[in-house]
Symmetry: C2
């Protein structure tokens, strides 16, 4: 497989692995996704990982390079039909962005994830769909391109779970400034190397994270390549 | 069943039927949802209806009172897993609102519905989740309240279809002005009596419409009660 890019002058597309495949489905953090506490888990560039969280546990997502977006999803432990839902969050919050202290809700309007800490300037997105195969085709890619929708599916497949659909993600560090006229830009993150977000699970759930492989817009920085993330679970 | 409202001074809640039940599931426009062309179908206040559309057909939704919001959904004819998706529309459009001429896309980023005509000032919403049982409980309702999520499910049940989940709707005539700081208001519609929107099906699909029963915020007008809609399908 040899993914190619149509963007004139862009750096050659680099897949998660040299052969163009993405090993997310074969690399769970543990067979059932249960983490060892206080252990750092790497999410390699362009890949995803699913992590089971118990109520009250804190998930720290660190951005070593500072410019990397994390597409974040969560589904409740006992029902794949209940998931973190951005349209319900917007309704609950009364705004189209999140900030530290917010309690993010599911499609059943139950609080599931709290933004407990945020070392970054707090610029995140709750408006934009996860990138997927079609998105890259529309951007000019002519072969497979790693994408957050497949990372979501593969991360769950890796721990034996099958999602019903791909919800709209909470795009941590993604910078989508909305103008007064309702248009928006695909801007570079304003986070810095080492920034982290701490999310607290308000119910038992599965957190799914994708180190967004987007390299055909500026959402993972300008002059940079998609990078890794590090996650850790603590009490 | 006797739905009640907690809002001080608000008019008593009036359900779709005097006994508090909602007859949407028992009143399809036809057993399989296929419309007679150029015939007006009433969507009574607080109820929903599903209508099968063939590629190229035009669906006219009329707002007789002018202040009534229509929660609009669409799923493709052959796959309940493919549906009109607001987060994918925002990505495709580059803005957080729609306008006449827009082609709205599915979760697979395929154009499904075109806004062919709009007699109203064009103020619609693509940010807010469908109202549901929990929403009304959170607003202070202590018993069942008609809601767009149940209308969506019942409209499809009425024609023998079972959805996987309730997608974020295209809220026609719903006025959610977003301020520069990202907060928004629940404002009254700016549409006028008799306003209509014409939607063209770009693929065979099922359109699902709910005459939004919201009477605990201002989205269906101030000093008004939820009203009916009229739909018609033509070539």
């Amino acid at each position: 497989m040899s993914p190619t890019r149509a963007s004139a002058g862009a750096a050659p597309y680099r897949a998660a692995q040299p052969d163009g495949s993405n090993p997310t489905a074969d690399n769970p953090i543990a067979p059932d996704g249960t983490p060892q506490l206080d252990r750092d888990y790497l999410i390699p560039a362009r890949q995803g990982r699913a992590v089971r969280l118990k109520r009250g546990q804190r998930l720290t997502i660190t951005n070593p390079q500072g410019h990397q977006v994390c597409d974040f999803f969560a589904i409740t432990a006992n029902s794949p039909a209940e998931f973190l839902s951005m349209e319900h969050c917007r309704t609950a919050l009364g705004r189209i962005f999140v900030k530290s202290g917010d309690r993010l809700v599911t499609n059943r309007r139950r609080p599931l994830i709290e933004i407990a800490e945020d070392s970054s300037p707090g610029v995140h997105d709750i408006l934009i769909a996860a990138c997927d195969h079609t998105r890259y085709q529309q951007l000019g890619c002519t072969d497979y391109h790693d994408n957050c929708a497949d990372n979501f599916r593969m991360s769950l497949a890796a721990i034996g779970e099958t999602p019903r659909h791909v919800p709209c993600p909470f795009n941590i560090w993604m910078n989508i400034p909305v103008a007064k006229d309702g248009t928006y830009d695909w801007a570079a993150p304003v986070s810095k190397p080492g920034d982290y977000v701490v999310l607290r699970a308000l119910e038992d759930c599965i957190a799914i994270m994708s180190a967004c492989p987007q390299d055909m817009t500026s959402v993972n920085g300008v002059g940079t390549v998609p990078a890794e993330l590090v996650v850790k679970v603590g009490e």
